[in-house]
Every structure is written in C-alpha cells, then in structure tokens.
Subunit: 294 residues, 2 copies
Amino acid sequence: MTEYAAAYQGAPGAFSEDAARAFVGATAALLPCWKFEDVFLAVESGRAAYGVLPIENTLAGSVQTSYDLLAERSLTIVGETVHRISHALLAPRGSQVAMLRQVLSHPVALAQCEGFFRRHAQLEPVPVYDTAGAVERVVREGRPEQGAIASRRAADVYGADVLAEAIEDHPENYTRFLLITTPARAAEAAAPPRAAAAGHKTSLVFLMANRPGALVECLGHFASRGVDLAKIESRPLRGRPFEYVFYLDLIGDAGEARVAEALAALAGSTAMLRILGSYPRDAGTSAARVRPGT
Amino acid sequence: MTEYAAAYQGAPGAFSEDAARAFVGATAALLPCWKFEDVFLAVESGRAAYGVLPIENTLAGSVQTSYDLLAERSLTIVGETVHRISHALLAPRGSQVAMLRQVLSHPVALAQCEGFFRRHAQLEPVPVYDTAGAVERVVREGRPEQGAIASRRAADVYGADVLAEAIEDHPENYTRFLLITTPARAAEAAAPPRAAAAGHKTSLVFLMANRPGALVECLGHFASRGVDLAKIESRPLRGRPFEYVFYLDLIGDAGEARVAEALAALAGSTAMLRILGSYPRDAGTSAARVRPGT
C-alpha cells in the first residue's frame, strides 16, 4: 500500500531529493511532488511513508509555507538533517555562458546568486517554481540562450552541461530539512536504534493569550528550567490580522522531566499548544560547531 | 536635489504605490524601483525624500528582504500604514476568462488566489517579480490567453480589462508598510504636528548573547516595565549558520521613560542593539480593532 519511502517537493535532482536520500537511503523509492501540500497529502494518504520538508535556510531564512502546513495538518516531525546548498549554472549541451540571455531558477536560488548576475549583466534572472524543474525545462526546450541554476547533480539527472559551479554569493549556505510522518507510524517507529549523538530536539506551535508580557511568560517556563531554545518563529494567524502563532524548537526530548514540566506549564499559559515532534538532533544545527572563529 | 517625494518597489499601479500615496499625498512625485534595495539607494542618495517598504502581510507573513535591509542599511522608520489588499484578474482588452491559459503575478499574490485557480483548472499560474509589472507585460504583449493578477487600479494605469474582482481566498488580507528616510531628515522632521491617536510604536533589531535563557532575559526587560510587544521576528545571521538576529516592535515611543529604561537594560543584555525608529502607530495594526467577534 505504501508505494514510496518518502515524498519531497520539487523535481528529481532537487536539493530536497538529496535530503530525502539522507533520511531513507540511496535506493529507496521517492515521490517527487509539485507543492509542499502534496507532500503532506502523500503521507496522509499512505502513498508515501515519510515526507521531507525544507524548514529554514541559513541565508534566506524560514520557509514560511512549511511552518503553516505543520500547524494546519496533523503530521509529526521525526527527524532533521542539514545540507550544504551549492548552486551551479547549467545549460543545454553545447551552450556557453556567453550565449546565455535568461537563467531560470527558484527565486531564492536567484537571490543567492546576485553577485553572479551582477558580473554577467547580459543574464536576466527568470523566477520559476523549482530549481531542478528549471533544468528539466531548459534541456527539454534546448534553447542555447536559456540556462538554469540548480544543484550540480541536476546536470546528471537531465543531461545538461555544467557551465559554472559554486556561483552562490555566500558559502555558509545550508538548508535544514524535516522528516515528517503520521502519528501512527511515528509511534510504531518510536525509540529508533539510531544513536542521537547530539541529543534531541522538540518542535512545538502555540497561540498565546493576547496580553502584555504573555510571550515572556511563555518563554520563561523554559528559561526557569534550564531548557534552551534553538529557534523561535512567528507566523500570522489567518482571519485575525496582526495576531501571531509562535513556533519553538527547544533542545531536549518531550519525555525528559524538565522539558515535560515546562510544556505542562506552557499549556497553562496558552490558548493552543501542540507538540509537533521530538527527534534526534542533527549536529549541523549546533551554531557552535560551524561558527567561524569564536 | 530631491526629485521625488517617495520611492517604492514595483511598477506604477503596485500596492506599494497606494501606500506611498497615503504617506506623501496623491499628487507628489513618486519613483518606482525594481528592487527593495533600490528603494534604499534612492533615499540614501537623496534622489527621493522617503522610501516605502512592505514589512508584513496578514496572510503571507513577514517580508524577509525588508527586514534584512532595515538591519543592513542605516535608514530610520518614521511611519507605518496598513492597506487592505484585494486582487483582481486583469487581461488585455477584449479577452475573457474562458480564453485565458496563463495568469502572471507575484508568487505571494498567486498563492493568495489558490481557490480561484482550483475553480479554473485551465489557468496556469506564472510567477513574475511584481503584480503591476505583470499587467504592464500582458497588455504590452496583447496575447488574449495571458492575464495577470494585481490591484483593480492597475487596470486603469495600463488600460486592461477587469475580468474578476476580489478573487483572493481570504478577505482579511492587509499589508503593513513602513515609511523610511535618512536619520538627518528624520531629525529635521521630528515632532510632526500630525496627532497619533493610536500612540507610537518603536522598532528595533538586536543580536543577543548565545546562551540559554538569553531571549527571555531580553524580553523580560519590557515585560517587567509593562511595555507591550506588537511583533517579534527572527532572521538568520549571515555567515553564522543557525544563529539569528531579532526584530521587535513595541508599543511606545523610545523617548518615554519606561521604554527608554527597558532599552537601556536591553543594551546590557545584547551584543548589538539598534533602534530602527519610533513612529505614530496606524490604528489598523491593533489586533483588537479588527478581530472578528471577540
């Protein structure tokens, strides 16, 4: 019944496909999806066992649609992985940089290569829905004046030429991906044998009472128990302009005593609270590990 | 020397142009800019007296590029205004919905009209850089199968037909815009005669020490003095993966005693703190006013 090990957004060759392979293995069957919502649908319907979702990029920031879907739907986070993002300029076989006029890619990828476009003023950036899909299109259409920005690997997937590598402005370019599944499968697969050398992380979403000091009260439940926060994110509440829901990532497992106590206290300070999942932490998200110099 | 009253991102007919008119008047000379960064450049160079910047939308959330530029550059926020966003389907004269195959617009506008695309399955959404620019293009190219999603007013600006109005999924769709200028001009124009019925708001950005409980300590300086927070936003720190800068909007003027005290205390808890501006608050950003039912 479950046809695919994992569903991801984008075309084959997408960065999300790399992340999916890191989660479920190099030979597992993967389902490419057009939209993030389709990833949720594939997992909810049982068509795929797991879904893979980009949640934040160290240059572009949070992936807002992913946050919204985590709150609106009922899937559980069971893993995270951090991938280095490096962009290559690809084009139909035989094309050269000097022949190109248009370069297609996802708007975030285009924005991360601004310096490259400044150095090649004849190139017009053209936004499309995904990076690998842009490569598929320029190879299919075969116009020597149209290139695409995507992973180096997408060149092999679609038979494109690599005209330039590592064209991003900033090398510290990482995307954090989440592995999501149904609560039933998460319970079945609980206590996985895989060791979590970096400990665990717990993600949650809450809606607080709209009164002065409410956010400090909510966060204070963690601080007073020595529970560290890895990330806080606010998103607008639909239908209630200028009110927000908050997403927190904390260091620790929801089953640990001090984390469980903090969550129980938080439930008393909020109008809505949902634990999105506890999962082994990817050491790559530890700021200390990758911070240069200090 | 100052040729324009205000610079804004987008083409004439853009929602940002409406906001600019609300700030500087219906007849003032406005400078349309291709990118947000160009708005900053126009104000910094003295070409425009003020810049207008969308900062958050009640459905799509924060405008991440605007936040980054506020921290990276040195302009000051001197005003805010909230505008209702309503999307219309526009097309070259004589076209009809049944003839359309492609609809061009900004990705956020396309996402806000998902229901419309579901009801008209023959329409392919095509992402482009701005809403009004999409109308300009479909009118210039004059292909009856290509439409655009933008404000109703853009139809008048470019001579397009209005095929449908209010096609957005959700009516509670507002964008908050900021008015920015140079610190010198802000000082000159200080204490404006215009009354601020809703009081003032202050925006700031800070980088906190990377240790457990640091965010609670920072926010506690406001809570303990009864200073209310209107918004908190985190953005990645370039070159330091998985570290963040925080943006706060608080209710009050930086010159008020309890706000000034809180800011002085915050300076002691942070590695970097910059006040982005104190400005009259638009009553439309008060959640209570527009909240339905409660």
